[in-house]
């Protein structure tokens, strides 16, 4: 092989979304973004809502939004388990803003803790999405 690559896999509960060899992938970890290159030390990390950037060479070839999850890194693989994943290009800004608006209304209408938590989570998610689009 001319160049070492990382096997990157993005998996949602419903299906295997992506499985390909990439030069580098940057994952938004709980404690900050981390880049994974071949022969990375094995680790497991939680993932916060944010953008996974896939690099081919020095260029970003794909950007995917994930709503949190887990990442498992071994020397030759990087696996991200995410419940929601969406390529940046497919996110509809207006729809997300609408979601954010709705969630804020939900938060003020919420009667019990469970509903409040759910609304707060949704707000966080929508805001992360908006920052991702830029």
């Amino acid at each position: 092989m001319a160049k070492e690559q990382v096997e990157f896999e993005l998996v949602s509960p419903e299906k295997l979304l992506l499985s390909q060899s990439v030069d580098m992938v940057v994952v938004p970890g709980e404690d900050g973004d981390f880049g994974v290159l071949p022969r990375h030390a094995p680790m497991i990390s939680t993932v916060r809502p944010g953008v996974i950037a896939i690099y081919s060479g020095k260029e970003i070839s794909e950007r995917i939004f994930v709503a949190g999850g887990f990442a498992e890194v071994t020397t030759e693989r990087c696996t991200v388990l995410a419940e929601v994943a969406q390529p940046i290009g497919e996110i509809d800004k207006a729809a997300v803003q609408q979601q954010l608006q709705d969630a804020k209304e939900d938060l003020s209408d919420a009667k019990d803790d469970a509903a409040r938590d759910a609304a707060r989570k949704q707000i966080e998610l929508s805001e992360a999405m908006l920052t991702a689009i830029g």
């Binding site: 896999e9 998996v11 949602s12 509960p13 419903e14 299906k15 295997l16 970890g29 709980e30 404690d31 981390f34 030390a41 094995p42 680790m43 497991i44 990390s45 939680t46 887990f70 498992e72 071994t74 020397t75 693989r77 696996t79 388990l81 419940e83 469970a114």
Partner: protein, 294 residues
């Protein structure tokens, strides 16, 4: 002796029943294929989750103060049984087999002096349990496969279960569902969800593959995130297996119903023809003897 008109009516009614059962069989076959695909597609996630959990549980599970989801509450007085069955019948012994398994377990537990609670997935499991365990049913979720069986349904169930667990309403949680083996064979299965039971080889594969992991932010933090997630995944897996089993069971039940209807039509047709011939012979005899008398 049955008269001709009655036989004719019966034949046509059996025929239309046969049409319905054979249509249901074909629908079940199509749905089964989809359910199987879905179950297969969800496998990678569950596998990787299990691998991570195995290696985490091996490193963090033994420490004191581990999450009660992993270590248990230290008691096993109250059991929550999640019974996953279908919303509709006409699928052979599918629903009854699952409920029978759950009922057996419930009786054992009650005999041992434990408290039993039920959470029903699917209308049929609730209907069958209600007579005996009515007051023990805490909640029911219906129509999980409408419009499609998505992960959000499993998340709803697991949220509910986890809230109950946090409130200390039960100690041990077991889910009952039918494992899909083949179209003809579905195995009613009981799987313990809380406390988490690592499957034998999970930690071994975790260690063989890449050695000891670094954990970020920390193994306890990841574990406490991962465990609730794992429960929803396990519930989702059970739902998918169940969906495939249901359609498989319905397919074979409808297949034999169609065959039975066919046999019945054959038998009735023979009877119809014999009766018709007997009538004609009778009429001929009457005409001939009337002529002879003249």
């Amino acid at each position: 002796m049955a008269n001709l008109n009655d036989l004719k009516l019966r034949i046509s009614s059996v025929k239309s029943t046969q049409k319905i059962t054979s249509a249901m069989k074909m629908v079940a076959a199509a749905k089964l294929r989809r359910a199987q695909e879905q179950a297969e597609a969800s496998r990678p996630y569950a596998e990787r989750m299990e691998r991570m959990l195995g290696s985490l549980a091996a490193s963090a599970g033994k420490q004191p103060g581990a999450s009660p989801l992993l270590a248990g509450t230290g008691k096993d007085d109250v059991h929550l049984l999640i019974v996953a069955a279908a919303d509709r019948g006409l699928c052979g012994g599918f629903n009854s087999n699952i409920v029978k398994e759950a009922r057996k377990k419930a009786h054992e537990l009650i005999k041992a002096g434990k408290t039993v609670k039920f959470y029903c997935i699917g209308r049929k499991s609730r209907d069958q349990l209600r007579r005996e365990f009515g007051p023990n049913i805490v909640d029911t979720i219906e129509d999980i496969a409408k419009p499609s069986l998505g992960f959000d349904k499993a998340a709803t169930v697991s949220d509910y279960v986890l809230r109950m667990f946090d409130a200390g309403e039960f100690d041990v949680c077991t889910i009952f569902y039918a494992k899909f083996k083949s179209v003809i064979v579905q195995i009613p299965t009981a799987q313990q969800l809380i406390p988490f039971e690592a499957e034998g080889d999970a930690d071994a594969s975790g260690l063989a593959d890449g050695g000891i992991y670094d954990y970020e932010p920390s193994d306890e933090k990841i574990l406490s995130d991962l465990l609730p997630r794992n429960i929803s995944i396990q519930i989702f897996k059970a739902m998918l297996e169940n969906a495939a089993s249901e359609h498989g069971a319905r397919m074979s039940a409808m297949d034999s119903a169609t065959r039975n209807a066919g046999e019945m039509i054959d038998r009735l047709s023979i009877q119809y023809n014999r009766t018709r011939q007997a009538n004609i012979t009778n009429e001929l005899i009457e005409i001939i003897s009337a002529k002879e008398a003249l």
